[in-house]
Amino acid sequence: MKEEGATDALLRQFLLGRVEDEERQRIESLFITDSQMKDKVLAAEQKLIDDYLDDCLTKADKEAFLLFHGDTAAQRRKLEIARSIQEWAVNRTGKTPIPATPPLSLWDRLRLPKKSILILPIAATAAVAIVFALVWVNNRGTERNREFLAVQQELAQLNTPSSLRDVPAEVHLTLKPTVVRSVESQPELLSRPNIHIVELRLLWMQEKDYPSYQAVVRRAGDGQPYTLDNLTIEKDGGKMIRIRVPARLLTRGNNQIELTGVAANGSKSSSEIYSFFVSE
């Protein structure tokens, strides 16, 4: 056995069918023989189901979740039951009902000027169109926001000290700051379907070290950066900060990481930029 335990992040990957066969067998045999491990797996499964019910999974995670947990009629039935329990609980907590607009009395209707009667259908149509537009814009915003939060959450889980320590990296790429690397060619990462997580090893060339570091991941052609806080430096020969990102997050083209040291009082160092090219 490679390791004795398993982190939440690893168990999540296991439940989404993203671990190698050897690792899968190790977790399954521990699930059967070790009650603590069983509890960990069940807790991870409950968390995954909660995230699904709350619609907090990324698109890829949701697809994997449904493949492994919503594939058969029995599994779908269980998910429906879980959703029913959730709905029951939400209803039972007594949401304040939105007061319905009282219907217009006959007298009120008679008092409406004739012109209003003609204008009403037009106004109503316009109002409906505006509402639809607002809902559409809002839904798109909400969807993007939900996706963003899910990715942030996933990144945080992948980069906890225990995950970095206990879960072996599938593939890694060592990067130097672009200012140091100016004469060298840009590192390239070949995107492959069997790679799910990429570890980026960012060499820290500044003389001063910091208690923690912040990394901002900027994908090629995407304005939405993702931030990773509370990263720590490792000194094994040189100085480096490791971060892990889901491979699907890295888009084809030039991706960039901005790394900053954070002092105990919150002040920040000058940033280092690391860039690499993702190709297919």
């Binding site: 699930f31 059967i32 023989t33 960990k40 493949l67 029951w88």
Partner: protein, 194 residues
């Protein structure tokens, strides 16, 4: 689908003795092991996890007499080994044997779906009524809030109960399992399971 598994009484006795010298405790391990193996088959996307679990016990029952004398270590791992072999065989099985439960024989009409949803709701209410008030309160509180508020509230809940969030999740997982089983039985009694 689960088969009508008939393990010869002598083999069943030997299996139970092998699992634990205390018969009551052995019985508990047996039931839990069945449950765990079914879950493993499900995680491996095998068709018919219940049927495969029956097959594991069937195969072990045929060898238990000799194996229990030679196998070293936790006997549950022997069962797991048999299950792994079945997982490997499973894709071939799927072509020949399809779980009827997963075969969409006829797309249900909307009215049937509504009816099933209504029955499920009725069963849920019945099962929740039968639930111990403390457990009912626990599951109500766990699912009550929305999104971020829910995450914070669950941490608060765990703190108040003097347990970790992980332990709280395990309790909810098991409680949900109890309710699911109750609902399934209720739907069975109502003659409609979908």
């Amino acid at each position: 689908m689960p088969r009508d598994l008939v393990i010869p009484p002598k083999s069943l006795d030997e299996i139970l003795d092998w699992l634990h010298p205390d018969r009551d405790h052995a019985g508990e391990i047996y039931v839990q092991l069945r449950h765990d193996l079914t879950k493993i088959f499900t995680w491996n996307r095998c068709a018919d996890p219940d049927g495969l679990t029956d097959e594991v016990f069937d195969r072990v029952s045929r060898k238990v007499h000799g194996v229990r004398l030679t196998f070293e270590g936790d006997p549950k791992l022997y069962f797991y080994g048999v299950a792994r072999n079945l997982v490997k065989e499973s894709p071939k099985r799927a072509k020949r044997q399809v779980s009827l439960e997963d075969t969409d024989l006829r797309a249900p009409e909307a009215s049937t779906q509504d009816e099933v949803a209504h029955m499920r709701e009725e069963c849920l209410n019945r099962c929740l009524q039968d639930l111990d008030p403390e457990k009912k309160e626990l599951i109500l509180s766990y699912y009550a809030k929305d999104k971020q508020a829910k995450i914070d509230y669950r941490s608060e809940m765990a703190r108040e109960l003097g347990i970790t969030v992980e332990t709280l999740r395990v309790r909810i997982h098991r409680l949900r399992g109890t309710i699911e089983t109750c609902i399934e039985r209720c739907l069975d009694r109502m003659g409609q399971k979908r």
